[in-house]
Amino acid sequence: MTAISNRASARPAPSSTILSIKGLTKIFGGLTAVNSVDLEIPRQSIVSVIGPNGAGKTTFFNMITGIYEPSSGSVDLDGVSLLGLRPDQVTSAGIARTFQNIRLFASMDSQENVMVGRHSRLKAGYIDSLLRTKRFHESEKEAEDVANLMLEFVGLSRFRHELATNLPYGDQRKLEIARALATSPKLVLLDEPAAGMNPRETEELKSLIRRIRDDLGVTVCLIEHDMRLVMTLSEYITVLDYGSKIAEGLPHEVRNNPKVMEAYLGRGAAAGEYGKEEQLKGGANA
């Protein structure tokens, strides 16, 4: 496995944080979707960003990955600023992502979908493809190998030549993750990977995310509503509400933080009329 492991898993780089975000803000017209959020993601860790719907989580993600232009603030990956980079340049820099609504390439089979992920890593260019040079064959083989490895990694090898849209829903989610991993990222951003999954699939997802960090050495940052998954997986949690960071810390600190409950369950709940434990777990899933 480690033969093709990517740069990230080399022994920890000098600074322990892989991604440091300072004062990131996004203003759409009058509305401040994200209000000066700071975030430090430690290397080879699993962190989560949670918050009720409309808290600005996806906008936050989109600014990191270059889809939206931050109104202010900085985003540094391994000390290199990502400001102003196009989404494909961000991916080449080493951040891959999945989407809230699955965005697979309908007319390609699973293997080809994942091979698209290798696009920025393949050396063979236009002329190589035309003349079928040695470099072309090497890079095509490498692309296919990595794709098969990633498919195997997420357990979809048997669907290699199946149309991406023919796969069951849970497998399509895994395929998107496999495609993101194929870009050999340092950090992978998963946008609500467990949405619409049944408990068995969520368990499989949990072990998969752990293997991403342990086997591939890729840092994982999660947006998720499934509190059980978030609480058991994350080493560090940040909570956003109405675009601002209202809490951060280890899972148990965040669970008991009154501001978090207020954000999720409304003012009354925070005053303790309901049992803290069940509400937080159940409420969040509504």
Binding site: F28, T58, N62, I67, F99, Q100
Partner: protein, 337 residues
Amino acid sequence: MDFATLAPFLVGVVISGLVLGFVYAIIALGYTMVYGVLQLINFAHSEVFVTGAVVGFEIFRVLNGVEMNGYLKLLLALIAAMVASGLLNILIERLAYRPLRNAPRLVPLITAIGVSLILQDLIRIIEGFQGRFDLTYQLPTGFSTPFCGPESSCAGVGKFLGGIGISLQIKEVIVVLVALVSLAALNYLVNFTKLGRAIRAVAQDRVTAGLMGIDANGIISLTFLIGGALGGISGVLFGLKFGTVNAYSGFDPGIVAFTAAVLGGIGSIPGAVLGGLVLGVIQNLIGVTNILGGALNIANLGVIDSSYQRIGAFLVLVLILIFKPTGLLGRSNVEKV
């Protein structure tokens, strides 16, 4: 060429550009209505609009001898054209576009091109039976006399217009008035009626509109009826303004009108009107650049003569779309990721 003669000249150019713009605007409306609902470039619209022009010609020809008020003849021509073009448009949608509702977007486009080719020849055949090809409008007397000419009552306006070398014809004023009335009616219908809401809902999202109990197919047919009626009106106005129409004269104005619809923001009704007016003025200004070039003695501007009118309009469209990708008034739904 001093400023004194240049200024009225330019005003005259802009005014005739606006009149031309109204004709393009009302044709553009036909494209925008259909595009709004089906996201389809309806190439066949140019033939729907020619059908209106031909029907208008036939009405005026039949009524030529009849002793009747000129404006009544015009009204009859407009109504007949609206009915003919409207029904034709529904027929086209029913037979050629509905079965392809879920096919890839290029397929209905090619069908529209096919329908346009068929209609062109059909119109030529129908008119050919009476041995006619170029149809010249026989307008009621007085339609071509200058509006507010020196001898008419509103001499003041006439003097001013005459001063700047413009003698607007009554028929041109009719064109502007009928265009304005149609735009107002359409605007009221689309924005202030239950039916209008349904059309806008189907335009936004056909599926969800279906969920809300709107018969999407019915609304689409209705939109085609309205688009066709507008095409009919624009055909008659085209015949009024330019006087002669034939089976193949729909293609060029169709392309220019679609450019106007895109310039204004495809799918938006005020956009089509603004696009048409802007395009009309730009085309005229480009047409006179060699005079301006001469006046401001910029040598190579003199080269740009009227044959650059069409491509000038396209280059302006490119510039506008670079800075505002959805056209002047186009709705820009920010991409939800």
